[in-house]
Amino acid sequence: MSDAAKEAFDALTETVGRVTVDDPKMQAENVDVFYAEKQAIYDVTLDVAKNEVVAMIGPSGCGKSTFLRCLNRMNDTIPSCKVSGNITLEGESLYSSAMDPVMLRARVGMVFQKPNPFAKSIYDNVAYGPKIHGLANNRAELDDIVESSLHRAGLFDEVKDRLNAPGTSLSGGQQQRLCIARTIAVSPEVILMDEPCSALDPIATARIEELIDELRENYAIAIVTHSMQQAARVSQRTAYFHLGKLVEVGETKTIFTNPSHELTENYITGRFG
């Protein structure tokens, strides 16, 4: 970081741009995250709107994943991780004692960086969530859920003849779509995606990006990506993180064509990161 940029970062106390939206699905306010003594997120406030894709970009290690994992309390599985601040889903506080983190994760689903199908058949991978939440009353309903989820993930035609083959027998891109289908199957309200295409080839990536665009109709989506082109293609709003701080938020078009903050501009123009 140049001296000027460092000064700009140190001076940064408030996010540039509008962090709230008119019709929020989720709201995060003044979130701090610590891993043991080390602070990973500094006072981040950000809304996720309904039927919208919000992209989170920034140099690696800047806390994008950490922030994303706060939104469905996946950080609970890391013992050293402490989250403070207020996060709500439809107005209900995520970290209040009334909120069951297990139920929360059924409402806020997550797709991970590396495709992680279970050691089960394709069918059972998708049926897993509906089964544990009792979403189907009988086998026929379960079949319906599996089929429609695979359809919406754009995978059904490719696997309809081998639903009993192991999930791991699919290609990387297919596995990732299987993971998306698995997430959709529990009918979440929000889908979080942490660099869902970073392990995929360009064709598989394009396929997933299309899918994300379609999913926006029914879900609120937050996606972390290290690819600025991807953020530009799939998102409506973009949030730029830097060393744990949320530097700037805005319309994706504005961020990529006319960023306000020096750090954002440096990143967009490829001066670092």
């Binding site: 469905n72 929360l104 997550m110 279970f118 969530g129 544990i132 698995r182």
Partner: protein
């Protein structure tokens, strides 16, 4: 006396070897000097030194070993002419007796104590032959070592690929070590196989495999009545099966639960304490388990049984099986713990991310993913249980009952092998040979289990690589 000189010779060769190493290295340095320094040499000086040393040591040692292998036969045949014809005429047995007497006298250095002058003459000749042989060995081996060493020294040039050659020798040596282990196993298998075939020459294989009466007492004198021996192995195998089954009923649930606890719930500190403690169970000598089973567990079972009106033998399959189960818990838990820990965290995250609880994740995602590995661990534990002897000897008795009742005394294949071979026995009686036949069947059974276990475990490995 004789073995001492071989020892001496070996020490001399090793010293020579070391010297040649120094010579070789030194010569490599001087060759290097005239050839533009070490960079001009193919290998490092120590490689050249090692190569020279190997040339000095290996052929010499090989010759020594071969010589020692063939020396007795050669000496014997040379000595044959000195043995009086009268003895030869009395047949093989007398000749070998005569030889023994002479050998003993020579070995103990007391030729004079032989009273018969003919024997004395033979002994003197044997002594002379042996001394000559030793001398010959010394000269041959030392010459080989020195000459080959010098030749190797002369061959040191910048082009000599000493490094590769040393590498090749090391590889050969390692291969030799590996094959010794394999050959030993093969030898054991073959000897068991051949003795079993001899046994089946005396006892019908069909009777052995399907017979239900085991009483291996054969007549020692021909006029004895009533003990013709019967070798039906079925009660032994059912006994083995019964006890192993009880052991597995104990070991699998406890082992698996401990593994799940250790891998999924225990804090790192807890794990660091509990895991070694659990693994220690496998290190306790089985005889200690046997004492525990026979003197503590068996009486307790008997008391409990009697208090509810069951008749329990004082030595019961249950006591042995329970204790054996405890002993093999670590086989199940340790391997299962390893495979459960090896299930990628991302798979757990995927499950949590769908709103599954920890125990749902373990039951429906982690265990199915780890299952092949767990099965492998269970099969290994089972083959251990089948082979276990000591606990059964002490706690389950020797009675070859054909029963499925765990409260009765039973016996197992391994225990019978032990009883067949303890005490005095004739080496070619059916009773003794039966031990080999039992051993063979046991070996085949555990081999099959192990092979299945290995295949299952390997398939599991492939899945995550």
């Amino acid at each position: 006396m004789e073995s001492l000189s071989v020892t001496h010779l070996t020490i001399v060769i090793l010293l020579l070897t070391f010297l040649y190493f120094l010579f070789g290295r030194h010569r490599a340095y001087s060759v290097a000097k005239t050839n533009g320094g070490l960079k001009g040499m193919h290998s490092l000086p120590s490689h050249y030194g090692t190569l020279v040393a190997l040339w000095c040591a290996i052929p010499a040692l090989l010759i020594m070993v071969l010589w020692k292998l063939f020396e007795p036969a050669v000496v014997d045949s040379l000595l044959a002419s000195s043995i009086p014809d009268a003895i030869h005429a009395q047949g093989e047995k007398s000749v070998s007796l005569y030889r023994n007497e002479i050998n003993n006298a020579v070995d103990s250095g007391k030729i004079d104590s032989l009273l018969d002058p003919v024997k004395q003459a033979t002994a003197t000749r044997l002594d002379g032959l042996q001394k000559n042989a030793t001398l010959g060995l010394f000269v041959l081996v030392l010459c080989t070592a020195i000459v080959l060493g010098v030749l190797a020294l002369k061959r040191i040039t910048p082009k000599l690929t000493a490094r590769h050659r040393v590498e090749a020798v090391i590889k050969g040596f390692l291969l030799l070590c590996a094959s010794i282990a394999i050959l030993t196993t093969l030898g054991i298998v073959l000897s068991v196989l051949f003795e079993s075939i001899r046994f089946f020459g005396q006892v019908n294989i069909f009777d052995f495999v399907t017979g239900v009466k085991w009483s291996p007492q054969t007549a020692i004198r021909t006029d004895q009545v009533g003990s013709t021996g019967s070798f039906g192995a079925v009660p032994l195998f059912t006994g083995t099966l019964l006890i192993s089954l009880i052991a597995m009923i104990v070991a699998v649930p406890f082992g698996l639960m401990s593994a799940i606890y250790l891998a999924e719930y225990a804090s790192p500190r807890m794990r660091a304490i509990v895991k070694p403690l659990l693994e220690m169970l496998a290190g306790i000598p089985t005889v200690v388990y046997g004492v525990f089973a026979a003197l503590t567990v068996a009486p307790i079972i008997k008391d409990i049984g009697q208090s509810v009106g069951l008749s329990v033998a004082s030595e019961s399959a249950l006591a042995a099986g329970l204790v054996m189960g405890i002993m093999i818990i670590p086989f199940v838990s340790s391997l299962s713990d390893d495979v459960i820990t090896a299930v990628p965290q991302s798979m757990r995250d995927g499950s949590f991310g769908l709103g599954a609880t920890h125990s749902e994740t373990i039951r429906k995602v982690v265990i199915p993913a780890a299952l092949p590995g767990i099965v492998g661990g269970v099969l290994l534990a089972a083959s251990r249980a089948i082979g276990e002897t000591m606990i059964v000897v002490m706690a389950a008795g020797l009675a070859a009952n054909l029963t499925a009742n765990p409260l009765e005394a039973v016996t197992t294949v391994t225990v019978q092998i032990v009883t067949l071979l303890t005490g005095d026995q004739e080496f070619d009686s059916a009773k003794t040979l039966a031990a080999f036949a039992l051993g063979l069947m046991l070996f085949v059974a555990t081999l099959i289990l192990n092979v299945i276990a290995l295949i299952v475990v390997r398939r599991y490995r492939e899945q995550y690589e």
